[in-house]
């Protein structure tokens, strides 16, 4: 395969280009719409929302909903806002993402550069784990966390996310390393480099793009997870999504939609930031790994 080009050499007529731009912009609008609705309504007073059109621009702008969602809204009996849970989520997401990425990288390395009998079967077993519906693991997982004394803690939640992240990270790194020239590994071996040395000195330095993919994927999934967070860490260790759900799901109280939307945007902040900052590595990483045969 030759050096990848930044753009297709296919040439198009002027009229076609107009059509293409229209198409792309139309879809951009479609993608932005739900977020736009949230943003608009998060800066409106509540009376404007319940009394009128929810798509219209605010007549009166206010940042009160944002302040309230962050620091004074009622999440359970304490009026703490989302702030403490934001920190919980950070404490949970980073270790889980880093751990699963590290293990995935090592697995991918072994499965491509140190092959042995039955390695494809093992890979198949790991891969199938990506597809297990998470609802079925709740009860047995709770039991195991109880035995390990990790129920209701951030550590327990990190473990759960780590366990169910391995499949994906292994998949990404394996496909990426499969395209990495094995001759380099052989040469290093002949020079006397050990297992970890080769990984550390030769593979890891060129793994930037796939680390980005693995990081983005894992961070998004873990940050957005609700089911595990609610089941295994409710209470003091609850992550952001659980708190957000508590905020927006008042059973029989008055619903402050503007505060809900402000909170929702806050909860989405870190993942949005990751996509905006690291998004271009994402396509590059996918390009060099996961979608090639």
């Amino acid at each position: 395969m030759a050096v990848p080009s930044p753009d297709s050499p296919v040439r198009t007529a002027r009229i076609t280009r107009v059509f293409i731009y229209l198409f792309l912009l139309l879809f951009a609008l479609f993608y932005l719409l739900p977020f736009g609705i949230m943003l608009i309504n998060s800066v409106k007073p509540l009376s404007e929302i319940t009394g009128g059109n929810m798509i219209a621009l605010p007549r009166e702008w206010t940042i009160q909903p944002w302040l309230s969602a962050w620091s004074t809204a009622q999440i359970g009996v304490q009026p703490t806002g989302l702030r403490p849970y934001f920190i919980n989520s950070m404490m949970m997401a980073f270790p889980a993402v880093i751990l699963s990425t590290m293990v995935g990288a090592l697995n991918g390395y072994v499965l491509t550069k140190w092959r042995f009998r039955g390695d494809t079967i093992i890979f198949g077993l790991l891969l199938f784990s990506c597809f297990i519906p998470f609802q079925i693991v709740l009860i047995p997982m709770a039991r195991i966390l109880g035995i390990l004394q990790m129920a209701g803690t951030t550590q327990g939640l990190i473990m759960v996310h780590f366990v169910y992240g391995i499949g994906f990270t292994t998949l990404y790194f394996r496909n990426y390393y499969a395209a990495f020239p094995t001759e380099l590994v052989r040469a290093a071996q002949i020079d006397g480099a050990g297992f970890f040395q080769i990984f550390w000195r030769i593979l890891l330095p060129s793994s930037g793009p796939i680390i980005a993919v693995s990081f983005i994927w894992q961070f998004t999934n873990i940050w957005n997870d609700f089911l595990f967070g609610a089941s295994f860490a409710s209470g003091g260790a609850a992550p952001m999504t659980v708190a957000l759900n508590n905020l927006v799901n008042s059973s029989t109280g008055v619903r402050e939609y503007n505060v809900h939307f402000a909170g929702a945007i806050m909860a989405a902040g870190p993942t949005l930031l990751v996509y905006i900052v690291a998004g271009r590595y994402f396509v590059r990483g996918l390009m060099s790994g996961s979608v090639k045969g």
Partner: protein, 416 residues
């Protein structure tokens, strides 16, 4: 099962004895997570804090408590249940049957709970004759909420019978209003259904069909008539009802776009929040046909087995605080419901609250107090949800009334 339970308990003992040795603490799982109701529970926390007991908050909202129940199962399986859990009706009985709940008999005897809590409520708070839960409130679900200004504009009096009620709605519809504000969610459909069962068939039929699950009653002509009334109601609901949250339906009444809403007494909070006063800008009355009876649901704190002595002490202190007249008043003023004790002075409550308390006491006296099917107080969750399926399918036009009654029989059979 018993082996598994023993395992749970032994792990629980370990967790507790290692975890909290000194400070008294209650860990409370609930779904009162936002706005006024959360603040109201906060008063309970403050009361306990005065006694030196820390409140570990564990809020899990969503699905009318069903997410909290999932979390509870994870916690019990993990071997460390919370101290107290907000619970509805049959869930309490199910957990008690698993042997997971604590015994509150000594406290109950000392404070005389048996004399002040209505018997229909005790049926849920006790298991095998022992107290296992502390009731917080009683919501009654057979209320109609109405905008008095709209009623005056249309020249309507408070309807006294089903026919009056239909005529009033017809008048509103003719005037271009939405006659009945309603949100198309299964539990809201079922809330209206409760009142129709009671209104058409009376208490005996309600008991036979909703509580005893008698197939003959479920498939009877009376049931067909109940479904026909649901169709009548459906005719007065606007086309856009599906998926609407109940409070948005209430807002329609508040804004004068709709005449009535059939909903539990939590709807009152919305009117009050909009600056309206009961008996003036809005009014409440029992769904015509159900006068003299009350269908209720009751939030309770089920107390789980904790083995540590200081934790048990804290648990008892909490149970006692929940049933104290002060908390019952403070909490229920905010929540719109009425106290679970019938011996409380009603002067702090507004018109609807006073009416609710008086009618609750009367109904309890006369045997007209029934658990609401829609809110898990008439039958088990599996049956309740099976009924939801049929009611909501019928309300959305999938079945006619006869088929719906027949489906009711099948669905209940499959769920048992």
């Amino acid at each position: 099962m018993t082996m598994m339970r023993k395992l749970h308990l032994s792990v629980g003992v370990l967790a507790l004895s290692s975890g909290m040795a000194t400070a008294q603490e209650v860990e409370v799982l609930h779904w009162w997570t936002s706005g006024g109701e959360a603040a109201a529970v906060g008063t309970l926390r403050d009361t306990l804090a005065e006694g030196g007991i820390t409140w570990q908050d564990m809020p899990v909202a969503g699905g009318g408590g069903s997410d909290a129940m999932t979390v509870l199962r994870a916690r019990v399986t993990a071997g460390n249940p919370p101290t107290a859990v907000q619970m509805l009706g049959f869930s309490i009985q199910d957990w008690a049957a698993e042997g997971a709940l604590a015994n509150l008999d000594d406290l109950a005897a000392e404070q005389g709970w048996g004399d002040v809590v209505p018997e229909a409520l005790q049926a849920f708070s006790t298991y095998d004759g022992s107290w296992v839960a502390a009731p917080v409130n009683v919501h009654s679900t057979n209320w109609v909420w109405a905008n008095t200004a709209v009623m005056a504009d249309l020249g309507l009096e408070q309807p006294e019978s089903w026919d009056d009620f239909v005529a009033a709605m017809q008048a509103a519809q003719d005037a271009g209003l939405t006659a009945l504000a309603h949100g198309g969610q299964a539990w809201q459909d079922a809330t209206m259904f409760d009142s129709m069962v009671m209104g058409v068939g009376g208490p005996e039929f309600y008991q036979a069909s909703m509580v005893d699950l008698d197939p003959d009653a479920l498939g009877s002509d009376t049931m067909v008539e109940v479904f026909q009334r649901m169709e009548t109601l459906r005719g007065f609901v606007d086309d856009n009802f599906s998926g609407r949250d109940w409070n948005l339906a209430t807002a329609m009444v508040i804004n004068g776009d709709a005449l009535f809403q059939i909903m539990g007494d939590w709807a009152k909070g919305e009117f009050v929040a909009a600056g309206m006063t009961a008996g003036e800008e809005f009014t409440c009355f029992r769904v015509p046909g159900t006068e003299g009876t009350v269908t209720f649901n009751s939030d309770q704190f089920a107390m789980f087995n904790v083995s540590d002595a200081s934790a048990q002490e804290a648990q008892m202190a909490m149970a006692s605080a929940v049933l104290s007249p002060e908390f019952q008043v403070t909490f229920n003023l905010v929540k719109g419901s009425v106290p679970a004790r019938t011996d409380i002075d009603s002067s702090d409550f507004d018109m609807c609250g006073q009416m609710g308390m008086a009618q609750l006491a009367e109904a309890a006296e006369a045997g007209g107090l029934f658990g609401s099917m829609a809110h898990g107080h008439a039958n088990t969750p599996s049956v309740q949800n099976a009924m939801y399926d049929v009611i909501t399918a019928h309300f959305n036009g999938e079945f006619d009334a006869e088929t719906a009654a027949a489906e009711m029989v099948t669905a209940v059979e499959l769920a048992q």
